[in-house]
Amino acid sequence: MRDLAKEILEVLEENARATPGEIATLLGRSEEEVAAEIKRLEGSGVIRKYMTMINWEKINDGYVYAIVELKVSLSRDKGYDAIAERISRFSEVQSVRLISGDHDISFTVRGRSMKDVAFFVTDKISTLEGVESTCTHFVLKSYKEHGVILYDRASPKRLVVTA
């Protein structure tokens, strides 16, 4: 038997609206057992939030997105975490990651316009202590987010009855 927690998370990752009762049926467990485990996962911070996967482009939300890469110089009392955590506090910033390669930190940012985003980066990020350089890439189109393909596809048809 696989770990109950993992099984529950797999179902919830796919559908945040799945109720403990529904999950219990799918996993062949009791509702109480599943509800208790979900509570534990919420309490311990494994489950952070229940979200909806939205294709904003479909309703022309008017937002502009950019991926920003940073080079950072470290000092004895300021490591990556300190800078990354600081960047994370801005509500404009949607995700922050420490990465390998040419840059050190990559984050995504959402703004009302390109200018809006550009000024956010120059005003708030470039000026942070330890930030050596920034490289901003504006997002032109999203094809896949959170494992979900966003473009429309015709799905092939199966025969209705087969052996």
Binding site: G28, P156, R158, L159, V161, T162, A163
Partner: protein, 409 residues
């Protein structure tokens, strides 16, 4: 006489030849007398209907994982479009040998004991044709996949159906098996995990019939295409039993576990004498399995494990969902342990399997397959495939509930 009349009379002459041509009289008696598959009959009713939810499909609803499709495209781009060896790509046979060693602890020589076929269907046909003489009897536990009985007849053999029962979890029991054995019995077909019942046979269940197999010197043709979709414990193969490897032709394929039905890749594993005989028939009929599909199968076996497991987990969830919903509706259903079918009893409705399936389709647009399509002992049941999305399963259950309410049962 004008030229035109000459032309006309020339045509007339041809038409006046006595016409004795009746194509029916040129059919093989075996084929003429063969009933069309019950599934086919039902398919004809469904065609053209809109808004049907299908529980009638015997294949995964997932497309083949992309990396497998991509490997095939890449090989096509590279121009790998010629025949392979009759036995199949050496690489595929080698990788299969490794996989079986790991999964079943069984060793097969890729040169002599493995044959790649065009789907398991071909392997089933080859196994009968390579082993049966006219009049040889083959025991077929039913309900079962629709092809065994006609394939046995095509090979000149005589099928001996044995009914398995709901009360015995649709397993082949020694007493039923023994009752069907005669002096002419040559082989036994095993197909577990089973289509349409979802039954499995554990190692202990198989042990119980092994003595009869040896005493009566039988060959076992074991179709294990649903091997990877075993939800209760680990799959057991008859070939794993002490001394049974040589007596067993193990058939399996890529279709169900890797969502590769349309690729048509199956395989047969067994004693060199039998695999060699099957290869002879294969070489004169099929030549080799499709090359590009064999390349895809290599990729699937090499890197497809995570997807196979993920798909199995999802089927398992749907199985639990569907079975619990059927219970809620009050349809008695054996809890399937493998494959992706539930086989609820509809006897309580007073309808026959065909009536139930036809009415359900007409009234509520849910397609399921009448159980008698899988043998007489399937009467009183319908086969519902849960290889469809959870949303569709729940919608189908709602419709079945309405259908049952309208029946007043």
């Amino acid at each position: 006489m004008t030229r035109g009349e000459i032309g006309l009379s020339g045509k007339k002459l041809a038409m006046e030849r006595p016409s004795l041509w009746r194509p029916e009289s040129h059919l093989s008696a075996t084929v003429r007398d063969m009933p069309p598959s019950g599934i086919r009959k039902f398919f004809d009713i469904v065609v053209g209907m809109e808004g049907v939810i299908s529980l009638g499909v015997g294949e995964p609803d997932f497309p083949t994982p992309w990396h497998i499709r991509e490997a095939c495209i890449y090989s096509l781009e590279g121009g790998h479009t010629s025949y392979t060896s009759n036995k199949g790509l050496p690489e595929l046979r080698e990788i299969l040998a490794e996989a079986k060693k790991e999964d079943l602890k069984l060793e097969y020589d890729p040169e002599e004991e493995i044959l790649i076929t065009t789907g398991v269907s071909e392997a089933v046909d080859l196994a009968f044709r390579a082993t049966l003489n006219p009049g040889d009897e083959v025991i077929v536990p039913q309900p079962c996949y629709v092809a065994y009985v006609p394939d046995i007849r095509l090979a000149g053999g005589v099928p001996r159906p044995v009914a398995t029962r709901l009360s015995e979890e649709f397993k082949l029991r020694p007493e039923d098996f023994e009752g069907a054995i005669s002096e002419k019995t040559k082989a036994l077909v095993l197909s577990y995990p089973n289509n349409p019942t979802g039954a499995i046979m554990t190692r202990e269940d198989l042990e119980e019939i092994a003595d009869l197999v040896v005493e009566n010197d039988l060959l076992v043709i074991s179709d294990e295409v649903y091997e990877k979709l075993t939800y209760d414990g680990k799959h057991a193969s008859f070939a794993q039993l002490e001394g049974m490897r040589e007596r067993t032709v193990l058939l399996n394929g890529m279709s169900k576990s890797c969502a590769m039905t349309g690729w048509r890749i199956g395989y047969a594993l067994g004693d060199p004498a039998i695999i060699g005989a099957m290869t002879k028939v294969h070489q004169y009929t099929m030549l080799c399995a499709p090359t590009m599909a064999q390349v895809a199968a290599v990729e699937a076996l090499r890197r497809g494990d995570a997807e196979v497991k993920a798909m199995k987990r999802e089927y398992d969830r749907r199985r639990r969902l569907f079975v619990s919903e059927l219970k809620r509706l009050g349809l008695p259903c054996f809890e399937p342990k493998g494959a992706f079918y539930a086989f609820p009893s509809i006897e309580g409705t007073g309808l026959s399997s065909e009536e139930f399936a036809e009415e359900l389709l007409k009234e509520q647009k849910v397609a399921a397959v009448p159980g008698n399509a899988f043998g007489d002992s399937g009467e009183g049941f319908i086969r519902c495939s849960y290889a469809t999305s959870r949303e569709e399963i729940l919608e189908a259950v709602d419709r079945i509930e309405r259908f049952l309410a309208d029946l007043g049962t």
